[in-house]
Symmetry: C2
Subunit: 327 residues, 2 copies
DNA sequence: TCCGATCCGTGAATCGTTTCAAGCTCCCCA
DNA sequence: TGGGGAGCTTGAAACGATTCACGGATCGGA
């Protein structure tokens, strides 16, 4: 039903090997022959069967990415960066979601392994060194986002979260808002802990002790959780002078709920987020935040995989973006 | 490097055919043999090579979905519905984005065709009957979202947008807000035109002519565009009593910008959106909107594909969700 | 005229799985 | 005792692209 390389060969009056050469190493084929073959391909509407190619070659022209939450623009930007870099390198990218579930993560890894991808970019949930080693043994390269793993052969790309947290907190301190609340998640993944760590360090370097800070933890980093956090803060009676949310979704939900309750931002309380996702700029009170180079994060990961690197680590730098919510 | 069915067979002391049977028709294999084979699989960490399976079978255990904009929650919910239904049916789903570009759409279709998927779910941008026919000739089934195409063999699933538009407008009329502005896109894809058509019909049925309405068109249905639309409305000097945005992202951007300029919603102006994406419930002024059964939309499409249907059409029903922005 | 080099094209072997006709054992029943 | 199922297993032939050792043609130079 679908035309194979054999029919193309017959139509062009050449052997299958020659058709394959036209497809893969056009330079070794004589001009006239090449044209004939290309014409036949065109006429038959021939499309290469990737399954056959992958079977023969051991692995395909494909990378995979597994992100935690497709509803968070942070991850979609990341994946898009990976996709752009893959395409540039002549590869395609398969998107998958783990939804933060170890079980789903495992299933997606199985899927990508079965598909014969040649590399996987992942924001790991429960991935351990054993599984990485197994994948590496099957010649599937791994690039971790925001998580290091030594010795297993994986590459990784992270952002300097300690520095990011410090940038955010310094800004609040400069505004005279050292009486601060943190809105974070529980459990707290390593990158988030680092952000808060950097912020606390900035506080103590400025001479303020951690006893003056308040921490509110929600189970998920979503805007619904931000809303809930705002309500909890309002119940306390007195608001802190500044609030540092460990991501923008939390911050946006929180700001919306505060505004709805008549709180003036940034006059009554300054709010700062983290990520600089698209909506941060268009919400009611444009959000001061720490930009992560998300696109570059994904692109770098893909480039490491395409370059066949092992055990390489790259760190990118975050950047403060000042808007209305803390200024 | 990676264990093949042959090594499993050797280790278990059976033939490759038997291993394949254990994998695909466990019931025909004797208990003892099956256990032996499963043990060998376990010990070797055997993972099925999908490329070989796909090659042999002609098409794989995989469906593909191509959506327009991965940053719009509408599409991610849709894709998730498709994924859930696929998994339930024992299939995996490959996510792709066309970004609304005909060129990218073509490339993604090529990709999925090469991968040997057995069906494709798509919100079409430039897909025409020819391409559908070609895919069908290769035994790849197609399910269109929100677009009908007759005769080419494609299935489709839509929501009754005329009805949705009518629901929205009737609600505004009941609130006494028949002096209305539409915020839409230019060009206007068919589903959007239908929404506006339904709304206009509701207006005229209530005795109000279209000459009383104002239409603002933006190139894209994003929250940035909604912001711009709000600014254009504010420049007019007088606001209409109601605003109907053809999707929630537009509505959210518009509401934010209006609120920032001191406009009271819903007192000064009632705003209604369309889609009921997640953020609609958590934004500053919770949004009255028309809910589309997005998850069901994607799931139904996947189910049609898995059932091997051709030329089938399913229509789902939208639902009014009343929140603060128009009440 | 002959040799070697260069340029192109050939065709069979290969990748790992599924499929299916055929064979092998056992056991039951006539 | 033999015939015939039933129940399991086997082994070889596909699927379609890539690879590579090999061979034929052509050309320049001696």
């Amino acid at each position: 039903m679908r035309a194979s390389i054999r029919e193309v060969a017959r139509r062009a009056g050449v052997s299958v090997g020659t058709v394959s050469n036209v497809l893969n190493r056009p330079d070794v084929v004589a001009e006239a022959t090449r044209v004939r073959v290309l014409t036949a391909i065109e006429e038959l509407g021939f499309v290469r069967n990737e399954a056959a190619r992958t079977l023969r070659q051991g692995s395909g022209r494909t990378l995979g990415v597994i992100v935690e939450d497709i509803a968070n623009p942070y991850f979609t930007d990341l994946a898009r960066g990976a996709e752009d870099a893959s395409n540039t390198g002549g590869y395609d990218l398969i998107w998958c979601t783990s939804d933060g579930s170890p079980e789903k993560e495992r299933r997606r890894l199985d899927f990508l392994e079965q598909q014969g991808v040649s590399g996987i970019i992942i924001t790991p949930v429960a991935l351990d060194a054993d599984r990485v080693a197994r994948l590496r043994a099957r010649d599937i390269r791994i690039a971790l986002i925001d998580r290091r793993m030594s010795g297993a052969g994986a590459c990784s790309v992270s952002v300097d979260h300690v520095q990011g947290g410090r940038l955010a907190m310094r800004h609040l301190i400069e505004l005279g808002r050292h009486d601060v609340a943190f809105v974070t998640t529980e459990p707290e993944p390593p990158p988030v802990r680092q952000r808060r760590g950097g912020a606390l360090r900035a506080l103590s370097q400025a001479g303020y002790g951690p006893e003056q800070t308040l921490t509110i933890a929600e189970p998920e980093p979503t805007s619904e959780a931000g809303q809930r956090a705002a309500r909890r803060l309002l119940e306390f009676g007195t608001l802190p002078a500044g609030i540092f949310c460990v991501n923008d979704l939390l911050a946006i939900g929180l700001v919306n709920e505060l505004v709805r309750n008549g709180v003036k931002i940034p006059q009554d309380v300054a709010v700062i987020g983290y990520d600089d996702i698209g909506p941060a700029a268009t919400c009611v009170i444009p959000l001061t935040t720490v930009r992560q180079p998300r696109h570059e994060l994904g692109a770098t990961a893909a480039e490491l995989l395409l370059a066949g690197a092992d055990n390489r680590h790259v760190t990118l730098t975050p950047e403060l973006v000042v808007r209305e919510s803390a200024s």
